[in-house]
């Protein structure tokens, strides 16, 4: 089963994570050409202004700024804790929520407004059919690795 999964390649953890064949993973937003609002995920009607047929798929930036966060010490059963849950405003538009990694889960170490970058990695869990998933996180920017 794992051979089949490997042959097919990882699946995206959310539909707005795009895995182009032979290219780098990226996050896709949809921007309303009428009002400029950003959304995660495909849509035809703008939730901000109601315009129809004006949504354009855009590649979201891999760079952004930590807007807010929490350090989760108790989650749902089976989820490894602690981890930093982060709200990140991406440069140029779009806001994502994901784990902030590469930093101690300590409020003394984390500063809101800090620059972060999106990284893509294979998720540590598989679905019931044994499929692998690609996920994403953010880490402090300019770490030089």
């Amino acid at each position: 089963m794992s051979d089949d999964a490997a042959a097919a390649g990882p699946l995206p953890i959310v539909p707005y994570l795009k895995l182009p064949e032979g290219g780098d993973p990226y996050l896709e937003g949809h921007r309303c050409a009428a009002c400029g609002a950003y959304f995660l995920g495909q849509r035809d009607v703008c939730g901000a202004c109601g315009a129809r047929g004006r949504m354009e798929a855009v590649e979201l930036s891999r760079n952004g700024e930590l807007h807010a966060y929490s350090i989760t010490h108790r989650s749902f059963p089976g989820i490894e804790v602690p981890f930093v849950s982060a709200i990140v405003d991406l440069d140029g538009g779009g806001t994502i929520k994901t784990n902030l990694i590469g930093i101690d889960p300590d409020p003394e170490k984390i500063s809101m407004g800090m620059k972060v970058e999106v990284v893509f990695q294979i998720a540590p869990r598989k679905d019931r059919e044994g499929n692998e998933y690609m996920t994403f996180a953010v880490q402090p920017a300019n770490r030089g690795d």
């Binding site: 807010a68 981890f83 784990n99």
Partner: protein
């Protein structure tokens, strides 16, 4: 259009009722509210029942089968944590429109022992712990940290909310918990999602509350003027688009929009209020709503906490019932239980925790997804 009144209201003590059914709890609250108004179920023209977990299983009809199967119209509703307020407001709307003179609103939930709430099912693998946390303690922690970023609000200030509400609950015989929790105890409790410790998270409990909603004509006919609480504003709002709301539910804009609609409808403002019961689902949330409801200027919530302005005896007491943090949060019942609390003060019946001379009070609930219910209540003319 007629003025609308709460002619009778009651709630069960929040807690654990493992042997009781939803309809039994809801039925007892309904009978309590009817007794308070001096009415029988035969006087009730419609029933509005709120229960988040049970709304698809006819809780209103089941309640009538317990207390009087009169064949009246029933509406069952679910609207996240605004479920009870929504049921009440549906009744208010019908009386306001002149359709009925006497209706009943009941909110009921069995939630004791429920685990941490939040997150939805999804295809593929769970994103919890990979794409942050969708647990309620985390979502409201992130909203609190946004405030901390803007205004420097500290962990200690967030924790003081819980100290206050637990203190208030010691004076409320209907609260789930009635114990003092000193600051160190709150801050050193198990960290759930920073900065919310376990004592800064609302309590899952069973509960029920009910209100008899009357037209002005009916209040006069029944001679209830010295007991009936006037509903000066009834507002329900949902969340308009804001740029981060797909990943960070915006409880602030929704509450602000509901509050400004309430001021307009009631013809009063936040400085006219004598007490407030607001949606302290987490300690961080209460801080945000001080500013959202205009109890202080933007950025002044930390000062409000330091000055103890929202304690019983302070400038504007908030959650003197003990709030969701200590009284408990049986979701569907919450939005009617806070109407019970404010009505009890406006009638001068709140005993040890009475806000002296209370004439005008506000109730607020907000559910993620997002919906906000606000009611402004005025004391009986006496």
């Amino acid at each position: 259009m007629s003025d609308v009144y709460i002619g009778g209201i009651d709630m069960l003590a929040f807690g654990k009722y493992p042997e009781r059914s939803v309809e039994s709890l809801g039925g007892e609250a309904a009978l309590g509210a009817l007794d308070d108004a001096g009415l029988s179920i035969r006087d009730v023209q419609a029933l509005y029942a709120g229960s988040l977990m049970q709304a698809s299983a006819n809780p209103g009809q089941r309640i009538l089968k317990e207390i009087g199967q009169t064949g009246i119209p029933v509406v069952n509703c679910a609207n996240a944590c605004a479920t009870g307020a929504t049921a009440f407001r549906e009744g208010w709307t019908a009386v306001k429109a002149g359709l009925y003179d006497a209706v009943l609103a009941v909110g009921v939930e069995k939630l004791a022992g429920a685990g941490m709430l939040g997150g939805g099912g999804s295809k593929g693998i769970s994103s919890e712990g990979l794409l942050g946390s969708d647990s309620m303690p985390c979502v409201f922690a992130e909203a609190g940290m946004e405030h901390a970023r803007q205004y420097g609000t500290t962990f200690e200030q967030f924790a003081m909310i819980s100290v206050k509400n637990h203190h208030h609950s010691t004076m409320n015989p209907k609260a789930r918990y009635r114990m003092e929790t000193p600051l160190e105890e709150v801050m050193n409790a198990e960290m759930i999602s920073y900065p919310n410790t376990k004592l800064m998270c609302s309590v899952n409990v069973d509960g029920a509350a009910a209100a008899v909603i009357l037209s002005e004509k009916k209040v006069k006919e029944l001679g209830l003027s010295s007991r009936a609480v006037k509903v000066r504003a009834s507002v329900l709002m949902t969340d308009p688009y804001t740029p981060r709301d797909q990943v960070m539910p915006d409880v602030n804009t929704c509450t602000r929009n509901a509050a400004s609609a309430a001021w307009e409808m009631a013809g009063v403002g936040p400085t006219d209020l004598d007490l407030v019961e607001l949606h302290d689902c987490f300690a961080t949330a209460e801080v945000l709503h001080y500013e959202n409801l205009g109890l202080c200027a933007d950025g002044d919530a930390p000062k409000l906490i330091d000055d103890r302005d929202t304690w019983l005896g302070g400038r504007i007491p908030v959650n003197v019932s003990g709030g969701l943090l200590s009284k408990g949060h049986p979701i569907g019942a919450t939005g009617i239980a806070n109407l019970y609390e404010v009505s009890t003060h406006l009638r001068g019946d709140a005993g040890e925790r009475q806000v002296e001379g209370a004439r005008l009070g506000l109730t607020h609930v907000i559910g993620l997804g997002t919906c906000c219910g606000i009611h402004v209540l005025e004391a009986p003319s006496s």
